[in-house]
């Protein structure tokens, strides 16, 4: 394996992130080629984690922009501090300043509120990691604007002039694929698809994230999750759910998955009333039956041969 990729993988693992090689390779290339990385995958597979871990392993700051419908350029970039401006105008009333002078003053850096994108560009020192989370939730206009910012990392504020990034930030974009992103954006990015983890990967994630968990309980949770994701659910559980589930079972003092523990904690795994109704009853009985008395290796085999 390439030295650089191995180093990234080791750093990520030191941060408690269980990586696959494709994740490490993409992160490595993103930092080497200085290209934005677009990460897609189902909800809860650890897309956002990649950015956090990248920042931690580079020892730099993480700046996060959470996207939502209606997000516009100003909210993402900068805003003037209006109350402060108003106040200053009031205070300066007696000073008989020229209009131009007043304008120049209140549109100075002192009154500028930097939002995530500008923070990332105007950042001094080590280039930060800029996480643009759930870009699919913003609309197409914002995406076009973002494309422009990502291509030259400079912003023009009419009142202040142009601000250019000394060293461009590392950019990570995530998407849950609720809509297709533009080709132009995809073309500019490295692409990474994170799938639901394999049984072994999920097992190690649970063991890393839930200290003190028994091998058997972790394996049972991983196997139950794999089985759940086979079902056609409205909202399939992600890895975050596995971790919380294992934690809750531990907190309730359950050494292994049994009916009562399952009943008590089911709300952590499935967040949709219909989904719960769909798997409750027969399906659960069969699941419990298939997990009953099995060791870790047998559970692995069970997950490897789906649809029982």
């Amino acid at each position: 394996m390439d030295e650089g990729i191995r180093r990234i993988q080791e750093q990520m693992e030191a941060e408690g992130y269980v990586t696959d090689r494709d994740v490490a390779t993409t992160v490595y290339l993103a930092s080497e080629l200085h290209m934005p990385a677009l990460i897609e995958g189902h909800a809860g597979v650890g897309k956002t984690e990649v950015a956090k871990v990248l920042a931690a392993s580079l020892g730099t700051e993480l700046i996060r922009l959470q996207c939502y419908e209606g997000l516009d350029a100003y909210t993402a970039l900068y805003e003037w501090n209006y109350p402060k401006q108003m106040l200053w105008i009031r205070l300066a009333e007696r000073e008989h300043l020229e209009l131009e002078a007043k304008e120049a003053h209140i549109f100075g850096e002192e009154f500028l509120l930097k939002r995530p994108l500008l923070q990332a560009i105007a950042h001094e020192g080590k280039p930060p990691v800029l996480l643009i989370d759930e870009i699919d939730r913003a609309d197409e206009e914002f995406e076009a604007f973002l494309l422009e910012v990502l291509s030259d990392f400079q912003v023009t504020i009419p009142e202040l002039g142009t601000i250019k990034a000394g060293q461009p930030p590392f950019v990570v974009l995530t998407s849950n694929r609720t809509r297709e992103l533009s080709d132009a954006l995809k073309r500019r990015c490295l692409y990474l698809w994170i799938d639901y983890p394999t049984f072994d990967k999920e097992l190690s994630i649970i063991k890393v994230k839930v200290p003190g968990v028994s091998e058997l309980l972790a394996a049972q949770v991983a196997a139950a999750m794999a089985a759940l994701r086979q079902e056609r659910l409205t909202k399939a559980p992600g890895v975050a759910e596995s971790i919380k589930w294992a934690m809750s079972l531990m907190a309730l003092g359950r050494p292994r998955l049994d009916r009562q523990g399952l009943e008590e904690t089911f709300g952590i795994v499935l967040k949709d009333r219909d989904d719960i109704a769909a798997v409750r009853g027969l399906w659960l009985d069969r699941l419990l039956e298939s997990l009953e008395g099995k060791g870790v290796d047998e559970l692995r085999d069970l997950s490897a041969s789906p649809s029982s």
Partner: protein, 343 residues
């Protein structure tokens, strides 16, 4: 490397010159002696969507592990064609009940009548296809106060905000998905309704249309760059379940499964059907419920609803009704205009 990129392009991957140059830079940074690094590194750079992952892996294997002689040929294309042909055969065999009849669409309504119809449809389409955006736009009155502009203007008056600048939500286009029933019971209406579909696609950019009988076919592309006659002609050849039975539930299930991404909270779904279902009614009800939960609005237009003597409500229709936002007749021009007024 250049040849590999060309090979990918020939086989349908979106590989641009920018991709190629990034790929060249990437291979300088990874250990090319390591097959996995090489593979994953190139994949990160050259793939731009989940749907390209599997084809990429396959093409990578063929190109770098296969013999060099086959690379120059368009190796995969014939295979894909064969595979598609095979898939067609198997689906045809899978639904033996399907009546494979090809319909003749030769008769054309009179042009004046059709012009009036298309105009009315366009009006309706515009109504259906707009909604208020969450984005703000400046406006003279109403809406929220825009502090940015207010401060700017007040400067001239020594800091007194004499006039408040405002902004409010802008009207935006929605997405529209049309699901049209072309089974036998709909025979006398389907031509008319497809005209409806055609007019919608002409009037609006973001319309997807699908037809169903015993199974579902996406026909959006049939309508693009074609006259209605061409589109109908093409459809009569390619849609295999014209004038057959109706399995609305199964068709909706297929839609919810295969075209999931078409529908989100800004999408209006219009179903054009009489609700005469020969399939599983429970499935129909369940799938309608799922559909409505994800869509912004579900509208069902039923041509039977306008008939002079109303037949009893079809079983399927009864199952679907609880999951419909608007239920209206759709048998003639007047009924569509009435709908446009109501929306």
């Amino acid at each position: 490397m250049l040849r590999f990129c060309r090979f990918l392009r020939q086989n349908g991957l979106q590989v641009t010159p920018a991709h190629t140059s990034a790929a060249l830079r990437a291979v300088n940074r990874v250990d090319v002696g390591d097959r996995t690094d090489f593979h994953l590194g190139l994949r990160a750079v050259l793939v731009s969507g989940q749907q390209e992952l599997a084809p990429f892996d396959e093409l990578f294997r063929i190109f770098w592990e296969g013999s060099m002689a086959v690379q120059e040929q368009d190796l995969l294309a014939p295979n894909l064609e064969q595979a598609a042909a095979r898939a067609d055969e198997s689906t045809a065999a899978f639904s033996p009940l399907e009546v494979l009849s090809l319909k003749d669409f030769a008769e054309v309504a009179e042009s004046a009548e059709r012009a009036a119809l298309e105009q009315a449809l366009r009006r309706l389409a515009r109504k259906l296809a707009t909604r208020r955006s969450r984005r703000l736009r400046s406006t003279r009155r109403g809406g929220r106060i825009d502090l940015r502009r207010t401060v700017r203007r007040s400067l001239r008056l020594g800091g007194t905000a004499m006039e408040l600048a405002r902004r409010k939500r802008e009207v935006r286009k929605t997405k529209l998905v049309l699901l049209c029933d072309v089974s036998r019971s709909m025979d006398q209406y389907s031509r008319f309704l497809l005209q409806f579909v055609y007019a919608f696609q002409r009037a609006l950019g973001r319309v997807e249309s699908l037809v169903f009988g015993t199974r579902l076919t996406r026909v959006t592309l049939f309508f693009r760059h074609a006259t209605i006659e061409q589109a109908l002609d093409r459809m009569s050849h390619e849609v295999l379940d014209w004038s057959g039975g109706t399995r609305i539930g199964l068709s909706l299930e297929a839609f919810n499964r295969d075209y999931r991404d078409m529908v989100d909270s800004s999408t209006t779904v219009v179903v054009l059907s009489d609700g005469l279902d020969t399939g599983d009614v429970e499935l129909l009800s369940e799938q309608m419920r799922l559909l409505r939960r994800r869509a912004r609005r579900v509208i069902w237009l039923n041509p039977l609803l306008g008939a002079p003597e109303q037949p009893p409500l079809a079983r399927g229709m009864r199952a679907a009704l609880p999951h419909v936002d608007v239920y209206a007749p759709g048998h003639n021009l007047a009924s569509l205009e009435a709908l446009a007024r109501r929306l």
